[in-house]
Symmetry: C2
Subunit: 471 residues, 2 copies
């Protein structure tokens, strides 16, 4: 297998596909779309994996409608691909053997907010920014922030995390319950609204990170948090990546409840300067943010400044004004787009690995040496509090040599992370592109166990086929 | 089905059982025990469910030995029951159709501590107290504390939580990876040591709370935390359970990072006084504990005192001296045993439910009314920060009338919790005794999904059969 040659799957019967497309068009009218542009937009937009378009895109408005669609597809053994906003990186929404893309963007309501219980029940199509805008008056917010304005259904499905997972955890830690339409059309509710439960197998966590291969999520109960009384953010340059990582380790170990702690290497800082006109010193840089009371964040920022200094970092400049903070974090969030400023006109494969934090400096340093040796342009940003970092190698897709160099580089990156007890993906997920790395990460028995789950839930391999594990 | 009439299961072939017992005795010598006393001690000690003893108890010392035992049992289709310390409440370790109890108490080593990564790799038989004693010199600790000195393997398997889950989460949140011997004898490692991962289905969480029905855990990687610089604890009486619950809600909502917040009702306080000679005012009482810096815990305690006062609570007395704190928490931990002081000579069924915190006061009040109406003696303690509470109804097991009254009372308790969007068990697990409640808690499709997982992993139903869901 190879990241760029997807798994071979038996194609569905063309007549069955035709029947399903016609039935959907008859039933859903202009909510069932077969135009090439829309179909291709639902395949895969953010990688250079081959575009594999579905045969039809349908926009349900309720769980009942999803059930209808799923039962129709199941009856004809036609594949389904759940779709949120299409901002995932690994080909999750591609339709390798066609079928029906089920776009949840019209299921974007808040069903219920429970301020006393610090939870909210939502439909899967709402995006994280829309959710937080609608929550603002309650004084509560949902913290998980993968950068893109992804749908919550997509974030559940890729087990997303992002910049402030170091404080609030990942989607795994913040989903309380799900409603899921299984490949059979049966509707499962995974849990009730109690904060904890020992009532049977943890179906919630089974669907978190399942990338839509076990069912379609139609309702999500999420934990919420009080909007912090005070937020302060700052940046701190370091003499080396190692120094920045060591300062991060010390920060985490000392129990400082940092909300975000993000590394950008010198090349990424250069990209920020070019893209966002920031005028930052082009050295490895930590972006940090603290949440708490006024006194609390002041104390935290001060302690962080002291730790940074111990490792030769500084000056630590901090911004408590919202507009300065927004500017800084907007720059950080634009890391992916900023990277292109370093080499306009090329493409990239944004990738991520995650290692135990004690190995992070070593892993980033070795990766830097590899970057220098191969002459590749690959800025690094990292959620370093979690040991997770991202690369955006900038490569001319029309140059087979460059593509080959990058592929070999990515292989070595994963090998390096795995050798250090890490994982081939901290938060992007497997999709199509990382299936081959999963084979290296897990022993055969583990992959067999995953496959057993897939077979138990989706015996005909009609739910987002060709993702995560070979059927 | 009924809590006291376990599921009917086909018995294994007696000749096959005989063969397995002989093979184990030959292979493991005095680490395979068939004495009635040891077998019965491995069945079920903490409920009055009928004792269903295994045919043999075997004490493996390594994953390889567990694999040997499992393969032997699998070859002869003889049931296996994993065993930790036997402190679970719902008949988890009973062997309804006999077979082999696999006691992990000799697998009790720490395999590796990684202080920089704040994690530890252990064998499943180590108990939480032994773990924390051995960790002490590192300045780190494992916070989850269900009261009993349970084994970590058992705590993983029941998704245990306990008094400080409100701050540190439950086992679900603190297990990073597992090594598990499946019913086939295959060995699965669920994840690597990276702090987060999106590399496939979350097998870790699937085994957390599976009560040993999907495999036998032989290695556990746990998150650790720095021992707090300062700890302060205190108690605060309230005029009513509702006032105590309302103060708890306010505490949680205001973001006060309380480490423990425990309710005891007036009857339970009376039991504490009788059992631990405490001389406490016999009113609803909150036990609280704060972790942090010296300044931090002082600030937290002060804010909590103010909140308590708003709801008519007080005086809030707090103890920073370790010996005072230990005395208080020892009393709290002895709640189960203390209950018997109220009516010596009887038995109890310790049970727990969990509701959204906004419904907690209502749920406890209605339960109190029910207690008064039925004349049952049932003190209540609760991990109220999570909406979770425990009852220990004290009943003469030789009185069919009392037993019937209690059974009806427990039914109503579960119905009440479910009606309030709660769960039939917050942390004890399902085992045998709560299977019938699981049928009320989850829709049929959810139970079918759980059953599908069980069938996928254990097609012959030999791994802890007769627990959680009907096969």
């Amino acid at each position: 297998m190879n990241a760029f040659t997807p798994v071979t799957l038996p194609k569905p019967d063309p007549a069955a596909v035709q029947t399903v497309v016609e039935a959907l068009t008859a039933r859903f009218g202009n909510r069932a779309v077969t135009s090439k542009a829309v179909r291709e937009q639902h395949a895969n937009t953010l990688t250079w994996l081959p575009v594999e378009a579905p045969d039809v895109v349908v926009y349900p408005q309720s769980t009942d409608e999803v059930v209808e669609i799923v039962k129709l597809c199941a009856a004809h053994k036609v594949p389904m691909v759940p779709f949120g906003t299409g901002t995932s990186f690994e080909g999750h929404t591609n339709a390798p053997i066609g079928g029906v893309s089920i776009d949840t963007s019209m299921m974007n309501k808040i069903i219920a907010v429970h301020p006393e219980d610090l939870d909210v029940v939502i439909e899967p199509g709402i995006t994280r920014k829309a959710l937080n805008e609608q929550l603002r008056d309650t004084g509560l917010f949902f913290p998980i922030d993968p950068g893109a304005d992804a749908s919550l259904g997509g974030m559940v499905s890729t087990r997303a995390s992002g910049t402030n997972a170091v404080r609030y955890g990942t989607m795994k830690d913040n989903v309380m319950a799900l409603k899921v339409v299984l490949p059979s059309g049966e509707v499962v509710t995974t849990a009730r609204r109690a904060k904890k439960s020992s009532a049977g197998y943890d179906l919630t966590r089974l669907f978190v990170g399942a990338e839509g291969t076990l069912g379609i999520i139609t309702e999500i109960t999420l934990k919420l948090y009080g909007i912090p009384e005070a937020i302060s953010a700052g940046i701190c340059p370091f003499p080396s990546v190692r120094a920045a990582c060591d300062a991060t380790i010390m920060t985490i170990q000392s129990g400082l409840p940092v909300a975000r702690i993000e590394l950008a290497d010198a090349m990424q800082v250069r990209a920020f300067n070019l893209h966002s006109k920031l005028g930052l010193e082009e050295k490895p840089m930590l972006f940090v943010e603290f949440h708490g009371t006024d006194r609390g964040v002041e104390e935290q920022a001060q302690r962080f400044g002291e730790i940074a200094k111990e490792f030769g970092g500084g000056p630590f400049e901090w911004a408590t004004k919202p507009e300065e903070r927004t500017k800084l974090w907007q720059a950080r969030h634009d890391a992916y787009w900023a990277a292109f400023a370093l080499r306009p006109g090329v493409k990239t494969i944004a990738t991520d690995v995650c290692v135990p934090i004690s190995r992070l400096a070593e892993c980033v340093e070795e990766t830097h040496e590899d970057i220098e040796r191969t002459g590749i342009l690959a800025p690094i940003v990292g959620h370093v509090g979690d040991g997770n970092f991202h690369l955006t190698p900038l490569v001319d897709p029309d140059s087979p040599e460059e593509v080959a160099v990058m592929q070999a580089f990515l292989e070595r990156l994963v090998e390096r992370a795995l050798k250090m007890e890490g994982t081939c993906t901290g938060e992007h997920g497997v999709g199509q592109a990382k299936m081959k790395y999963l084979l290296k990460e897990h022993p055969a028995a583990t992959l067999d166990a995953m496959r057993a789950i897939k077979h138990a839930f989706d015996p005909h391999n009609i739910m987002n086929p060709g993702k995560i594990v070979q059927f």
